[in-house]
Amino acid sequence: MDVRCRQVRDRLSEYMDGRLKEGERRRVEEHLAACPECRWELEELRATVGLLRQLPPLTPRRSFTLSPAVVAPRVRLFPVLRMASLAAALLLLFLTGGEYLFTSPQRAAAPEMESTVPQAAPTPSRLGAPETGARLAPVPAPGESKDRGVAPSAPPASPVAGEESTRAVPALRWLELFLLVTLVFLGGAAFWRWRQESTPYIRK
């Protein structure tokens, strides 16, 4: 097949749909007038499309209307979870930030205190770093800590006046851990809901 024929045949589909621009259409027609092979090709293509057009629309065996029960609006948990995650995140930020600002000079001045209160050891900037988990090893498993995380905040309830600031540190640690776990949980739950609620097949 010569090059010209090949070019024309690539255009035949558009040509038969009347979608070629004027100049191109004329070139195709000139070639067709001179080339019986390409003319035959066009006829076959027309016959192919003619067959396809005769395929009837199908009648499904059932209707696809939706029952109101299937599409009943679900409780929109996602916004609630999202706001809760945001609140927990802000509180966590506030606590770690506050602790960093107000307690670190004091702790730097009195390093011996840290040895008596091991939980107070991690510097605030390391919170969330991998070793945080190791330092807090005696803590209950993440699943439980959600429920029990509040309990250790009890110690500051009966503080000896002078020790208050050092006692507050482990309590803060517990609270931070609790918030971190809550945050992960809420974030995970919100993501899960979001995946559930975003409908498939509608893509941007």
């Binding site: 589909s13 192919t48 396809l52 395929l55 009837p56 199908l58 499904p60 409908t199 509608i202």
Partner: protein, 195 residues
């Protein structure tokens, strides 16, 4: 009718499932036909069509005007692609189970005049030919040649450019022509002229 459709879409956005169901009734034959010709399997086509309408209802707030049927078909086509991907991973449906719906009218199925035109072996053969096309070419051919969509609407329904639609359609048609030539003994006269 277009205005009425807009009203139905607006009510569907507000969660009115009855309004949406009127749209379902209007388009379900078309959507089902396209899905069936993409999948070649009746039960699967029903499931995927149902899923597509459910997705469409849940996402109707994201419909931004234009052709509603093209938007519906886009959802249906995505559902088909997902299903075909799923089928490739778990090939429980072998090709010889693929049914021809036009070839096997159901009891109680009332054939329209055009269904008398094309039935049995011939429709079966055409559907078999469609089944051999690559998925994207198949979709272009089904939309433009079987359903009679314009290039523009087909582009909207497949989220592709006009040029992509043109080339998929052109290649799909050429492949089908070759397929029909191989089976010319079953086809109307044109394909028998030359041996």
């Amino acid at each position: 009718m277009a205005e009425e459709e807009e009203a139905l879409i607006a009510r569907s956005r507000g969660g009115d499932v009855n309004a949406f169901n009127l749209l379902v009734e209007r388009y379900q034959r078309m959507v089902y036909s396209v899905v069936f010709r993409m999948l070649g399997h009746r039960q699967e086509a029903e499931d995927v069509t149902q899923e597509a309408f459910l997705s469409a209802f849940q996402g109707v707030a994201r419909f931004r005007g234009g052709s509603f049927r093209a938007w519906l078909l886009r959802i249906a086509a995505n559902a088909c692609y997902d299903h075909l991907r799923f089928r490739r991973r778990r090939p429980t449906v072998s090709l010889d189970v693929l049914e021809s719906e036009s070839g096997n009218p159901l009891p109680g199925h009332i054939a329209s005049p055009e269904e008398h035109v094309l039935r049995g072996e011939l429709a079966r053969l055409i559907e078999e030919g469609l089944g051999q096309l690559p998925e994207e070419q198949r979709l272009a051919v089904v939309l433009c040649d079987v359903q009679g969509f314009s290039y523009e609407e087909a582009a909207e329904a497949t989220r592709s450019s006009l040029g992509t639609v043109k080339s998929r359609l052109s290649r799909g048609r050429a492949r089908l022509r070759d397929f029909f030539k191989e089976h010319r003994e079953l086809l109307p006269s044109l394909y028998r002229h030359r041996t």
